[in-house]
């Protein structure tokens, strides 16, 4: 197992690549998945509350009603009746809404309501960008509108009665319940998103790691030295294959395990069969970058080229797999192209696997197997190309003169 151990030592020397691509990107995917708010079905609806200040220079029933109306939807903050204090409170964000009720406002408002003329104006300050401020202003507006309506409709009603009735009217709120649909966003969906995004992690990580490993081990000089040794070719190739598989398996296990640990509820809400088939689909996907890395090694691609191929192809495949933008909103033409990419079939397999029952039927498993089959076909095609390249490389070097002889095998 000398070659196998040597390959792992080589990989250890290039530890930066698995650290950046596999560990780093998997955490990035994790944070992205966690940052999504898919709804919280187990909590009650809580309306937003803003912070307000009222400077009541009127002290009438109407102004007191405004204070009561505001207290139902916000939290009061004390602000001194001073122009500079107003500016500070608003500018520094101490309040979302500042209301100044001028002296005599209540009487003027009642008279205007009974006569049907325009209501007197209030001094109100809130930012156009503050949703809370607009919401609090709307609460005051609703209350005043209700008072005005009651006074107009009942000319005999006292101002205090109108205020009470208005507060009673605006105090009624609609009952709110959060409902989740069957296709609702759960933690399992976050996990599924993480798996989708992992196409980039896995593709870039495995391609770069395997590319670097095979290129280093296959460097003409050292490979020739190995070939002059008594180590059988098949043993050499098998040990190299095993090393590549170990690196791939690490990337797969790490990526999947991190997701499983970060989303424990997803693990409990999904069936064992679902989790298992997701993991298997991920492994089938991992074999594609393994083959591409092997191809890069046969082409003697430099570390820079391996990085470029891993990143660019990883981004394209993950994008066309729907990891960055949902496939639902992509145009039919893009969807057709996406079907030619492995990311699409991987995500399809994971999506189907995530909703498997505990005892899945054959009908449920066959589509997953079909998607995995497509992934394995991708791998087979790339591997065949890589083997052809390896063969051509040998043939060319033995057919091109003395300089070429130096690069043989």
């Amino acid at each position: 197992m000398r070659v196998f151990k040597c390959a792992l030592r080589v990989m250890r020397a290039h530890l930066i690549f698995p650290l950046v691509y596999i560990v780093g990107l998997s955490f990035m995917g994790l944070f992205m998945a966690m940052s999504f708010s898919f709804g919280q079905a187990d909590e009650q609806f809580q309306p937003a509350r803003g912070e307000y200040a009222v400077v009541d220079r009127d002290a009438s029933a109407v102004s007191q009603g405004m204070i009561d109306a505001l207290s139902a939807v916000g939290d009061k903050v004390e602000v001194a009746d001073d122009r500079r204090a107003f500016q500070d409170a608003v500018a520094k964000g101490a309040v979302d809404y500042l209301l100044v009720v001028p002296e005599g406002y209540g009487d003027a408002f009642a008279a205007a309501a009974r006569e049907g003329t325009d209501a007197p104006s209030l001094d109100v300050v809130f930012s156009y960008y503050s949703a809370e401020g607009a919401y609090l202003d709307e609460a005051v507006g609703s209350y005043l509108s209700a008072v005005r309506t009651i006074l107009a409709a009942h000319p005999t009603a006292t101002l205090e009665e109108a205020v009470d009735d208005a507060l009673d009217a605006v105090g009624h709120t609609a009952q709110t319940t959060i409902l989740t649909t069957d296709a609702g966003m759960t933690e399992a969906d976050r996990f599924l998103f993480y798996l989708q995004w992992s196409t980039y992690t896995l593709f870039a990580g495995i391609t770069v790691c395997i590319g670097v490993l095979t290129a280093t081990m296959g460097r003409t000089d050292v490979r020739r030295r190995s070939l002059t040794s008594p180590l059988p070719f098949i043993s050499y190739n098998l040990q190299m294959g095993l090393a590549c598989l170990v690196v791939t398996a690490f990337a797969w296990l790490w990526t999947f395990a991190i997701g499983a640990i970060a989303f424990p509820q997803a693990m409990t809400s999904m069936t064992v069969a679902g989790v298992t088939w997701c993991a298997l689909s991920m492994f089938a996907f991992c074999l594609i970058p393994l083959a591409i890395g092997f191809l890069l090694g046969q082409l003697s691609a430099s570390i820079t080229v391996s990085n470029a191929v891993g990143n660019i192809c990883g981004m394209v495949i993950s994008f066309l797999g729907g990891a960055w933008v949902p496939l639902d909103i992509m145009s039919p033409a893009v969807l057709q192209v996406a079907q030619l990419m492995p990311g699409y079939w991987y995500n399809k397999a994971c999506g189907l696997a995530a909703h498997l029952n505990s005892v899945p039927t054959l009908d449920a498993i066959v589509p997953i197997l079909q998607s995995m089959g497509v992934l394995l076909l991708f791998t087979a095609v790339v591997l065949v190309i890589a083997l052809l390249v390896a063969r051509m490389r040998t043939q060319t070097s033995t057919a091109g003169g003395n300089a070429a002889a130096h690069t043989a095998l």
Binding site: C6, R9, T216
Partner: protein, 311 residues
Amino acid sequence: MNIVDVKNLVKRYGTTLALDHFNMEIAPGEVFGLLGPNGSGKTTAINCILQLLTYDKGSIELFGEKMSPTRYDLKRCIGVVPQNVAVFEELTVRENIDYFCGLYISDAAERRACVNDAIEFVGLQDYVKHRPKKLSGGLLRRLNIACGIAHKPELAFFDEPTVAVDPQSRASILQGITAMSERGTTVVYTSHYMEEVEEICSRIMIMDKGRTLAIGTNAQLKIMTGIGERIEVDVLELPEAARAKVQGLDCVQSADYDGHVLRITCGNGQHNVSDVLGILRTFDVTPGRIWAEPPTLNDVFLEITGRDLRD
């Protein structure tokens, strides 16, 4: 029984004939020098012997048995020190030697002893934990050699192992190869440095265009080409008649006078210097400095392969 026995080897690269019925026999314990201009077929011959290249015709026997790519028993007895430094940048000096030695020796204890011996042999004790990037050119070459000979091969191929190394490292490498030979290892040594080959090789082959042009010991090659010594005499004035008389000597191949120095190239002869001086005396020419140099392997090489520039 020869250690290496190559008969009528033919190798073509497309339409180019790299080896043209090439023959080579190397006896046990020999340090065999393989010389030839660039593109003469040296590396191709070695690659064919090592089964890194296929060949069109001929036979290769090592240790009296037919060599093939799957003769791992024969490969176990061979060590290769390639022209380019073939080590892993990612491994330390010890790890590199251990890896390549491990391809030959599976027993850990035996391998450890061999690796230690190899490190001592090339004098890399102070650098065992260094990575190749931190080694100088000479140390790298020594590491390259250690990787090739750590398993104590019976037959070792050294392909220009002293390229771009300083004189001290070169001397150390040559000393090591001589020591290996004294321990019974058969060595095939290729180099463009003629003085090295002259110094360590017991037999030398000069090849060109895939064919053997000459083979023999250093002395045999010099006799074979008919080149004797080269004589230079400082004289202030030399009559043309004197120069013509010198030129007329049987042993003299050429005699040129450039105004201060008389340069004479001799063939094989017993009394070249005294014959030349006798003629000068008869013309009352008093020589200043007299300098006689025996022929070098370089002279032999150029005589055999020609002085035309190669690719």
